[in-house]
Amino acid sequence: MIKVENIHKSFGQEEILKGISTTFERGKTNLIIGQSGSGKTVLLKCLIGLFKPDEGFIYYEDKAIQKMNDEEQRVLREEIGMLFQGGALFDSMTIEENVMFPLRMFSKQKKSQMLDRVNEVLKRVNLEDVNKKFPSEISGGMQKRVSIARAVVNNPKYLFCDEPNSGLDPKTATLIDNLIQEITHEYNITTVVVTHDMNSVMEIGEKVVLLKKGKLVWQGDNQEIFKTDNEDVTQFVYSSDLFKKIREVQLKEKE
C-alpha cells in the first residue's frame, strides 16, 4: 500500500500539486485521472522519487520515502517497476537484454536462470520470438508489452504506469489495460496508472482518483464514477462525445 499525505509541489511560482492525500491499495489497479495539466504525471513522479515534494509525505508500507536513507531508497527502487509513456526501452539493447536488465543489475542469478525468467515474462505478455530484435524493430504496442515485461521481471511490489495506452489503437490499448490488471492480481502488487482514457477507467479502475488543477476532487471506483453527481467528475467523464451520448441515454431512461 502507498499512502500519500498532503503533498505539495511547485515549479517556480506555479503550484502544481496542492495538498493531495490518498491511498493506493495493494492488489488493485489504482488510477489517477484528470485533464492535461492537472498534475497527474507530477504526482506519479513524486511517488517514484523522480521529484521531491515540497511538503507532505509519501508512505510505502508505513515508511515515509522522505525519511529513508540512501540505502533504503535504493532497496525500495528495486521493488518498483515502471512503465513509461513511450516505453523507455534502451535502444542499444535487444528485447531480451532490455527485459533482463533489472535482473543483471540486481540479482545474483546465473545467465541461464535469468534467460528462463525473461522468456517466462515475455510469454506472460504474449510476446514470443522477439528476443533478438531491437526496440525499433517492433510496433508501439509490442514495445509497451516489453516495457511491462521489464517492469515485472524482478517481481516488484509496486508497478507504476504513465499513460500506458497513449498512441495505441483501441484494441491494443484494451489489451495493455487488461494485461496490467491481470499482472496486478496475479502478483498481488500495488499498481498506480496515470491516464486520461475513460475506457481504461471502465476496464480496470478498481480505485480512481480524479485530479483537477492540482487538487484531488474525487475518489471512488469505476462503478461509482458513473453514479456520482460530483460536477468535476461529470465534466471530465462526459467531455467525450461517446460518453456524452451514454449520459443522454441514461438521463432519458431516468425520465
Binding site: I48, G49, L50, D70, Q73, R74, V75, L76, R77, E78, I80, M82, F84, Q85, G86, A88, L89, F90, D91, F101, P102, R104, M105, F106, F160
Partner: protein, 245 residues
C-alpha cells in the same frame, strides 16, 4: 549567474559520476562498448587526417625553404615539432570534439528525451555513473590514438618529403632526431589526458541535463562542440604557458 550555475552543476555531476558505482561486471562491459564507440570507431578518421596533414606540413615546409643554406633536415624537424606539440594532441582533439563530443551529447540527449535516463533512476541505478563513468575510462585510452596520430603524421611527412623529391630519407630522419626533447612528449601526452577528460565530461553534461525534444538535442550537440573546442583551446594555452614557457 547562469554560467556560475552551469559550472556548479558540472562539478556536482562529476561528484555523482564517481559515487554509487554500478555492478562491476556490467561496468566492465560498458567500458568495452565505449572503447569501441569512442576510440576504435575514431581510428579511421584520425589515421586519415593525421597522415595527410603530416604530408601537408612537410610539403609546406619544403616549398618555403628557398635559402640553400638552410638544411633539408629542417623538413623533418618542422614536421616532428608541429605534429608532436600541436597537431596531434590539440587539433585531433578539436576534431574529436566534433565527432565524439556530438555523439556523446546526442546519445545522452536522446536517452533523456525518451525517458531512458528516468528509467535507470527509477530502477535505483546511479545513471551518471552508469552512463558517464565508462566514457571517462574509455577516453583515458585516448593518448594511444594520439600516439598513433603522431606516428602517422610523421610517416605522412616522410612520404611526402621523400617521394615528393624534396628531401632524402636520411636528411628527413636526421631532422626528426635533431634537438629532440623528450619532455615535449610528456607535455603532449599530459595535455592529451586533460583533453580526454574534457571530451568525456563536457558533452555528457550537455546531453544529460538537456531539456526539451529532438530540436534541443541538435542544439545541445552544437553547444557541446563549441564548449569543447573553447575549453580545449583555453586549456592548451594554460598548459603550454605552465610547462613550456
Amino acid at each position: 549567474m547562469k554560467y556560475l550555475e552551469d559550472i556548479g552543476s558540472y562539478f556536482l555531476m562529476l561528484k555523482r559520476v564517481f559515487s554509487s558505482f554500478t555492478k562491476r561486471s556490467v561496468l566492465r562491459e560498458l567500458i568495452f562498448k565505449e572503447l569501441d564507440d569512442l576510440i576504435i570507431d575514431s581510428l579511421g578518421i584520425v589515421c586519415f587526417i593525421s597522415f595527410f596533414v603530416g604530408g601537408v606540413i612537410a610539403l609546406q615546409t619544403a616549398l618555403n625553404l628557398n635559402n640553400p643554406l638552410i638544411p633539408k633536415a629542417l623538413i623533418g624537424f618542422a614536421t616532428r615539432q608541429s605534429i608532436i606539440l600541436e597537431f596531434a594532441p590539440t587539433f585531433i582533439s578539436i576534431i574529436m570534439a566534433g565527432k565524439v563530443g556530438s555523439f556523446i551529447t546526442s546519445s545522452l540527449g536522446s536517452m533523456r528525451v525518451t525517458e531512458q535516463i528516468d528509467a535507470l533512476e527509477v530502477m535505483g541505478i546511479n545513471s551518471l555513473n552508469y552512463l558517464v563513468f565508462p566514457k571517462i575510462v574509455a577516453l583515458m585510452f585516448y593518448p594511444f590514438l594520439i600516439a598513433l596520430a603522431m606516428f602517422l603524421g610523421i610517416l605522412g611527412g616522410w612520404m611526402a618529403g621523400v617521394y615528393g623529391g624534396f628531401t632524402s630519407s636520411t636528411e628527413f630522419i636526421s631532422g626528426l632526431q635533431d634537438d629532440f626533447i623528450p619532455f615535449h612528449l610528456f607535455y603532449a601526452f599530459l595535455k592529451t589526458f586533460v583533453f580526454a577528460f574534457i571530451l568525456a565530461t563536457v558533452p555528457s553534461w550537455q546531453g544529460y541535463y538537456m531539456k526539451g525534444g529532438a530540436l534541443e538535442v541538435g542544439k545541445a550537440s552544437t553547444n557541446s562542440f563549441v564548449w569543447n573546442s573553447v575549453l580545449i583551446i583555453l586549456t592548451n594555452y594554460i598548459i603550454t604557458q605552465l610547462l613550456l614557457s
